[in-house]
Symmetry: C2
Subunit: 400 residues, 2 copies
């Protein structure tokens, strides 16, 4: 059996640590691994760096920017994209879905403080030092906590002239709670810890509009800010839109309980882009454990199919979720246990270090974590891709 992996990047990204890249705690490359490196010892798998632009289900062909790839079996596993819920906010807010997002967000956050340090006007300075995180899910909570620690522990040393008591981090949540899906007791613990770090949480605060200078809430209230991060939800990626098959919630592809497309037994969709069981079924959460379990099942199903057997149905085994908030602080709901504080934080660290791909990456992340923990520092405070200021004069320049 020959397996071909098509991806528009030559690397796999460990998404759960993106927020640490965005807050200058890790080098971007440390949470990524070259796909060819991962597959080095698997002889029947080939990799192609291609962008998939469409799928012809009748002719059994994947259309890429470099031509067609014919298939007997196809597994669609292109992940998810940021959900702006129909609003046109991609250009005016920052997202946190891939390595480029994370690096741009880091540059933007550091850039607002550089701009604030050069700003004479008090209210404008205050605005620049206000960071808004839209969405109280796991990503929003982890990001808000890490930003708060950056503002509290690191930036005061970098900007001794700035009055950082003006700096604010707002977490805007449309509903009345953060971390949906977590037990109420852990939601409360996470909320208390965020408040302790200085994060202002606003419940019932749906965002109606956003621009480069802040957000407008649905009630009409205007909040000025230096940066707005949109982590309010995910939807199916653009690739899902071009697959001619019924769509479920958030544009996800409707698949049978066997993860096959309806009437297309050779085509599977898994992970964030699949809505299992059709429109009447509750979609699975867009989490890595779901995708991993589905990936394993599809591999088994295709092997069964080649042996003349029928594919099995997918049943999600929820082993729990965990969210880190800051130093020594996390909440974890795993194997039925509700953990918080230092012990949950230690489990979070261990699990993420183990799941990270590559021994070298683990070593580098461990060095950074130890450094960040012992020194209260964040070493990667580089502004690499400045967009607000053009650098035109001193030094050698090329278009990017």
């Amino acid at each position: 059996m020959d397996v071909t992996i098509l991806d528009r990047h030559n690397y796999h990204t460990f998404v759960p640590l993106l927020y640490q890249v965005a807050t200058a705690g890790l080098e971007p490359e440390e949470i990524a691994q070259p796909i060819r490196r991962i597959l080095r010892d698997v002889p029947n798998v080939r990799f192609r760096l291609d962008t998939v632009t469409g799928v012809d289900l009748d002719r059994r062909a994947v259309i890429t920017d470099a031509g067609e790839v014919r298939y007997d079996y196809l597994v669609l596993a292109a992940g998810s994209a940021t959900n702006y819920f129909g609003q046109d906010l991609a250009q005016v807010t920052s997202a946190l879905r891939d390595l480029d997002d994370a690096e741009r967000l880091r540059d933007q956050v550091l850039g607002t403080f550089e701009a604030a340090s050069a700003e004479e006007d008090h209210s404008r300075r205050r605005q620049l030092m206000t960071l808004i995180v839209v969405g109280g899910g796991p990503t929003g909570v982890e990001l808000a906590g890490a930003l708060a620690e950056l503002q509290r522990h690191v930036l005061p040393h970098d900007y001794p002239d700035l009055d950082l008591s003006c700096a604010r981090i707002l977490l805007l949540e449309a509903t009345d709670r953060i971390l949906p899906g977590m037990p109420k007791a852990l939601q409360d613990k996470a909320q208390a810890k965020l408040s302790e770090l200085g994060v202002e949480i606003r419940f019932g605060a749906p965002v109606a509009d956003a621009d480069a200078d802040g957000v407008t809430l649905r009630g009409g209230e205007r909040i000025a800010a230096g940066a707005v991060v949109w982590v309010a939800g995910m939807r199916a990626p653009p690739l899902a839109d071009v697959v001619p098959t019924p769509k479920g919630v958030g544009g996800r592809l409707v698949v049978e309980k066997t993860l096959q497309l309806p009437d297309r037994p050779g085509v599977y969709a898994i992970g964030d882009m699949a809505h299992v069981g059709g429109l009447n079924a509750q979609p699975h959460p867009m989490l890595a454990p779901v995708a991993i379990q589905q990936g394993n099942l599809v591999a088994e199903s295709i092997l069964r199919s080649l042996a003349g057997k029928r594919p099995k149905r997918f049943i999600y085994r929820d082993r729990g979720t965990m969210v880190t908030i800051g130093r020594n602080a996390a909440v974890a709901h795993i194997f039925g246990l509700r953990l918080s504080g230092f012990i949950a934080w230690l489990i979070w660290l261990t699990v993420h270090l183990v799941w990270l791909i590559g021994f070298r990456n683990r070593m580098l992340v461990l060095v950074n974590w130890a450094w960040n923990y012992l020194t209260y520092d964040r070493g990667v405070r580089l502004i690499r891709r400045a967009s607000s200021r053009q650098h035109v004069s001193n030094g050698d320049e090329e278009a990017p």
Copy 2:
């Protein structure tokens, strides 16, 4: 005394290790350090992230994109830029002068092998796997050696389908020797080691023209290639062009032996952008030790000047140079000694680790070096900023 540092980047780059970033051995961020972090404990130094666009020597003002900064004393230390010797090659060749260059070159080298693996045509595939390094100075030698090890030890595992015996690395040198300034015996040792690694060195091969598909030598010979790296020389940065003062070799600012601009006792120029002693004097090599010694002298001179004393003259104390070629292989001419092989390589490693700024960076580089040495691997094989192929369809996209 108040000191203001103006820079268009918020970080300092350790230039000697750029070639390791370009060959996927180090994360780019590991050889950079935030300037505010470096200056954290120096109370009378302020940093401004500004691009300098001009200098008004009469009004004693530096012009930046964010306004003017007045000075009593001015030190111009903007480094150097790639020297294309009047040719228009910046758009068609890669350079290796800053972190962006290094990351782009890494992306380009890896991208040519991805393209080769998808290429059906044999001669086109062979072209893509040919890398040309123009210039046999220290940067060209170190880069060619590291590229050879990447081709020899790493890429065969990544591309089992590719016949890497077709892969070539050409080092083109206009004169009849590499590493000018080094003793002849060490030049020969370096040349032998490069040949052993499979690098083809062409002497007396000045490049007349280059484009995206290769180079044309002055004699008319055409060499097709997948990537051309131009490290044939350095000149003064564009900032030097806008300072109204006499220019020396390569557009460098002519300064007195005291490093002061002629008739401008309050203005100093140091490092790569200064030509000490005027047009009749041999310019100093564009090396970090020169710049560091000049920086120390200027600091002393300004303090002397404030105390009513006269500035001292600059005398370069040449403690030697060293160049690494590959595993266990370097040449070093230090303190009058001529060293090569393993001992020179160990000294090179130690010196560069010590000179790298930041304990955290040293730890991370050490982990990478140990990993690279023990596994013959290069971990950072990520294509982050692909330019040859646009990624338009699957996934969330924003303009960079």
